[in-house]
């Protein structure tokens, strides 16, 4: 293939950039879910995600 260097480098750079984007989105998502899981484990959860109906606001965080 003539000019193979230019063609393959283009596809190589494209693959690298796209893989970086996928890795960024994946790792960021995993990190944030971990943060939320840690907060939940230490007793903090969103008001809308409270498991029981009768738990009053004061019960949060205990």
């Amino acid at each position: 293939m003539k000019y193979a260097f230019y063609v393959y480098t283009s596809y190589g750079v494209a693959t690298f950039v796209i893989l970086c984007l996928i890795a960024w989105v994946w790792l960021d998502g995993r990190g944030r879910r971990k943060d939320l899981a840690e907060l939940e484990a230490s007793g903090f959860r969103r008001r809308s995600a409270q498991p029981t109906v009768e738990s009053p606001a004061k019960g949060e965080g205990t």
């Binding site: 000019y3 480098t9 950039v17 970086c20 960021d28």
Partner: protein
């Protein structure tokens, strides 16, 4: 009736929890279709004929043109989101343009690098500042970087969203300049050959792989954009809950 139904559906999406549920359902399908289209597109890109003048370097087009198209489409998505932030105060609009900026920067960089790699063998130069298309796309790249920096510099997300929305809309003037730069000025860069009022002037042999790759890139963008928006929503939840935790802790200390 159908109008009000459509509006209800749209405003349902304003609820981040509903949006997260939708992302969970849609993204696996989008990702699967994207992967299939990339497989077909790459097969076509390397099995179709080369150009009689440009030889195999025409294959660079199948990554260069979709990247350049996404660079402009991403900015347009951000501009629509910016209107959503400023006019309707749509809760997801600022999440949308913040999440899109790094994706836009990446695809613009890809368009610049692959364009350079195509320019060297065909024009004899990697880069020229005298070319309006090249320079205006480089300005777009700088604008993406500026918007990312701005979002990071302002701690309050809603204030950052308003400031960057204004900047995005002012910067949108660059998009028609990029599109029509090849018509308005003498450029090394060729004129439009796909999106033309009189139809594409490019041979179907090249158009087929180009369209498949363009759709694959577009779906890849939306897959990544949805996931980046989900991450941003989760990040805001983490910040809000940490703040709440700190407030409760300080209240506990005071008591």
């Amino acid at each position: 009736m159908s109008d009000s139904l459509a509006i209800t559906k749209f405003s349902d999406l304003a609820n981040p929890t509903r949006f997260l549920a939708l992302v969970g359902k849609v993204v696996p399908w989008l990702a699967a279709i994207t992967a299939i289209l990339f497989a077909v597109g790459l097969y076509l890109a390397f099995t179709t004929e080369g150009d009689y003048q440009q030889g195999d370097t025409v294959r660079i087009m199948y990554v260069h043109v979709p990247s350049a198209w996404l660079a402009m489409m991403c900015y347009t998505v951000m501009a629509v989101s910016a209107i959503g932030t400023l006019v309707w105060r749509h809760p997801l609009a600022d999440v949308s343009h913040k999440a899109a900026a790094p994706l836009g920067a990446a695809f613009t960089l890809l368009a610049l690098v692959t364009g350079s790699l195509w320019g060297k063998p065909m024009w004899g130069t990697w880069w020229t500042w005298g070319d309006a298309r090249l320079t205006s796309v480089f300005i777009l790249f700088l604008m993406y970087l500026g918007l990312i920096a701005l979002n990071r510099a302002i701690a309050d997300p809603s204030r950052a969203a308003r400031v960057s929305s204004v900047l995005i809309l002012v910067g949108f003037v660059n998009i028609p300049i990029i599109k029509f730069s090849v018509e308005w000025w003498n450029t090394l860069h060729q004129k439009a050959s796909v999106l033309r009022l009189d139809g594409p002037t490019i041979d179907p042999e090249f158009l087929r792989p180009l369209l498949v790759m363009a759709i694959a890139f577009t779906l890849l963008f939306f897959t990544l954009h949805f996931l980046a928006m989900r991450n941003e929503i989760l990040r805001r939840r983490v910040t809000a809950q940490r703040r709440m935790a700190a407030r409760m802790a300080s209240r506990g200390d005071a008591a």
